[in-house]
């Protein structure tokens, strides 16, 4: 444990809601299942419960240890550290991806003439400041702004209700159930599986016995909200158009007659994506500090944020590159991070427990 920071279950659940909403507010992989996007999304959501259950269980078995420490315990000092380095890379990479999503949305839909790097850096500066203030401050900010975001989302999607066309959900399973399963796996990895980041945050929860409850409640809340977003986009735009739009929510909102509320989508995105990036960066900072046995992560804040910004510029050549990568490669890239290693860790932990050979 690096710093004596504590967050309450309520704060954790708001952070989780903001985190999962993150960039999935504007792009969800579910759209590639056409009319069955809702089904693919629901299956992925249910899978999300299992994954988050695994993460929470790992954390409950090791209540005061972050994932990097758990890895060192389970796989030994050297192998554990190597896997830990990979995880730190993944958290950083994820932060970079979300940075890029946010920046691309801004320059495509609102600030068309502003350079991408300018938007990303201006957000990065704010986030670096909040990281300096520590987890408690971030959590308190989340407690204030995430509910605001939720109210905005709900009211926006109530406003467009008049445009719903239920016929857009038919025909059922046009592209076959296999396609739906494939897409639902993408949904599982983005956004639900990304909560693996919280293995670095869970130890700071002040009331460990509420861990399962907290994560399941926040998953249920955000799952329903994302479902309503997916459903309304699908029912308003129709499957084909939904699949072609890069940022479908933006178009859906622009159909509200009389008033232009598109900026609200951008506001939501800034809130949620900032929450997500902050958590990713925080996780990698803690990881770096623990990996090298330091007791403070503060000196690393500026370099790590800078690296994340650079990654965000480097990862993709263009927007279409980003969309393709997120849909086709990302789900496979994250399998070891989100599924295999956590599962392995859990199994080894259980075996060690049963043997009683470990003094965990």
């Amino acid at each position: 444990m690096i710093r004596n920071e504590r967050i309450s279950p309520v704060q954790l659940s708001f952070i989780m809601i903001g985190f999962i909403f993150g960039s999935s507010a504007i792009i969800t992989p579910a759209v590639s299942a056409y009319q069955d996007a809702w089904l693919a999304y629901i299956i992925g959501w249910i899978g999300g419960y299992i994954l988050i259950g695994i993460y929470a269980y790992i954390s409950i078995l090791n209540p005061s240890k972050t994932f990097i420490e758990i890895l060192k315990d389970v796989f030994g000092k050297y192998i554990g550290s190597i896997i830990g380095i990979f995880y730190i890379w993944y958290f950083l990479h994820l932060a970079g991806l979300v940075f890029r999503n946010l920046g691309e949305f801004m320059i495509v839909s609102i600030y068309t003439e502003t350079p991408l790097i300018f938007i990303i850096i201006s957000i990065a500066l704010v986030l670096a400041y909040s990281l300096k203030k520590g987890l408690e401050v971030i959590a308190r900010v989340g407690q204030i702004i995430v509910p605001m975001m939720l109210i905005l989302v709900i009211s926006i999607f109530l406003l467009v209700m008049g445009h719903y066309e239920v016929k857009n959900l038919l025909p059922f399973l046009e592209h076959g159930f296999l396609k739906v399963l494939k897409v639902s796996f993408s949904v599982l990895t983005f956004p639900f599986g990304e909560t693996v980041v919280f293995l670095m945050i869970f130890p700071y929860l002040n009331d460990k016995k509420d861990l399962f409850k907290t994560s399941y409640i926040s998953l249920t809340v955000i799952g329903m909200i994302l479902l309503s977003v997916v459903m309304s986009n699908l029912m308003i735009l129709g499957a084909d158009m939904l699949n072609r739009q890069i940022f479908p929510s933006h178009i859906t909102i622009s159909l509200i007659p009389g008033i232009a509320v598109e900026p609200f989508i951008a506001i939501n995105l800034i809130i949620a994506a900032s929450m997500k990036i902050t958590m990713c960066l925080y996780a990698s900072l803690i990881g770096i500090a623990q990996l090298f046995g330091l007791d403070d992560y503060k000196p690393f804040i500026n370099p790590v944020v800078a690296i994340a910004v650079v990654i965000s510029i480097w990862v993709y050549d263009s927007l279409s590159d980003m969309v393709r990568w997120a849909g086709e490669i990302y789900p496979y890239y994250v399998i070891p991070f989100q599924i295999i290693i956590p599962l392995l860790v859990l199994i080894i932990l259980k075996i060690k427990r049963r043997d009683g050979s470990s003094a965990l």
């Binding site: 839909s109 003439e113 025909p171 158009m241 159909l255 007659p257």
Partner: protein, 392 residues
């Protein structure tokens, strides 16, 4: 001392922020923008795209100067380019402000352009972030979009607002087909349905063309994204009944109690549904209309408030609606061979396995299909009087 330093630094930061965060990076003042209210797209004789923009004049000059009585509140500009985007950029050689499309609520497409396919015009609209997909779209029948947008209006300062208000009247009178760009796009990408878009035509050709000399009561029929023909007012009404877009309509029928006199029935609400069923691998297409009406106007004598007359009147209205529907069905099936009603879409949604086998021949199957029409009209009231006043 430290405290004062802190305050000083804070103050400096605030001042600094005020200076650098005053506006967005690509900030443009209102005075640097030209607000486009309507966009017209035409095809020139050389095959290029001609773009017409109706732009609101930011400062309408007052009367008096140089004897000009009153100046129009809008400008109309026309430029040419190979693509719409190029034409839009070429506009900047003549317009001193940057056109701003966020308030462009109307798109007019010339007949020539529509015959070549409207998708070329819609892509620009869909791809760029400024135009809104909820804008109305209309086809200029027998003329160019430029002619339509150049016309002045006596009722409104901005003529495109006049056209938009007429389109809104579709709620009051079922002769106007109002569609938005997103509706058209959805129908274009949807298998089994072709769009039908309202059309504006010039009734009286004048030197100083006005919107009042035009009317919107016909509909352009598309096959894919290409214009193939027109529907007249009655056929448009039939189409609107089928598509369940009728909110209010008027039918004149004979007064059952007084020869050669008419009674106007106002349709207050209508519920139209199309269905496609497969019975033993045979396709059955059907249309069902449930409407409610009132007696809105009675010519001639007679107490129409009895059950028998109500029945007679409703049967007459039913037949009149049926005639409109048959009319539009036959022209769409036989002449244009275009499924503007969306029977194919119903097939695609509800009978996907069957649809997969017939989708390539759908145009033929549709044009030869027999379609059952079932119309039910219920006359509910007679306005705020019952019998008409009798002249003694």
């Amino acid at each position: 001392m430290i405290k004062i330093n802190k305050i000083l630094i804070l103050l400096l930061m605030i001042i600094f922020n005020v200076v650098i965060f005053t506006a967005c990076w690509d900030n443009k003042d209102l005075t640097e923008k030209a607000f486009v209210t309507a966009v017209g797209v035409d095809r020139t004789a050389e095959g290029k795209v001609q773009l017409t923009l109706q732009i609101v004049k930011p400062t309408v000059m007052k009367a008096g100067e140089q004897g000009i009585p009153e100046e129009e509140a809008f400008w109309v500009f026309t430029t040419v380019g190979d693509t719409i985007f190029e034409a839009a950029k070429n506009q900047m050689t003549a317009v001193n402000r940057k056109p701003f499309y966020n308030h462009a609520d109307l798109m007019v497409i010339g007949e020539e352009f529509a015959r070549d396919g409207i998708m070329d015009a819609l892509d620009f609209w869909e791809r760029n972030h400024e135009p809104r997909l909820g804008s109305d779209i209309i086809i200029a029948k027998g003329t160019t979009a430029e002619e339509i947008l150049k016309a002045k209006s006596d009722m409104e300062k901005i003529p495109s607002l006049h056209i938009k208000s007429i389109l809104k009247n579709s709620k009051e009178l079922a002769k106007v087909k109002k569609v938005t760009i997103i509706d058209v796009l959805k129908q274009l990408i949807q298998p089994g349905v072709s769009p039908a878009i309202g059309a504006i035509e010039i009734v009286e050709k004048e030197d100083l063309q006005k919107i009042e000399d035009m009317k919107i009561d016909s509909t352009a029929v598309f096959k894919g994204d290409k214009l193939v023909g027109w529907l007249n007012a009655a056929q448009t009404r039939g189409l609107l009944f089928i598509q369940n877009e009728v909110r209010n309509a008027v039918y004149n029928v004979d007064n059952p109690l007084n020869k050669n006199k008419k009674v106007a029935i106002e349709i207050l609400d209508s519920n139209g549904k199309i269905d496609a069923q497969i019975v033993e691998w045979k396709l059955i297409l059907s249309i069902k209309i449930d409407a409610v009406g009132n007696i809105a106007d009675q010519q001639g004598k007679g107490d129409l408030t009895t059950k028998e007359t109500f029945k007679k009147l409703s049967r007459d209205v039913e037949n009149a609606i049926k005639t409109d529907i048959k009319d539009v069905l036959s022209i769409a099936q036989k002449e244009y061979k275009s499924d503007i009603f969306g029977f194919g879409e119903v097939m695609y949604r509800r009978h996907f396995e069957y649809w997969k086998q017939i989708k390539d021949d759908w145009a033929d199957i549709f044009s030869n299909a027999s379609i059952e029409i079932d119309v039910n009209v219920k006359i509910r009231g007679t306005g705020i009087i019952g019998k008409p006043s009798e002249v003694r």
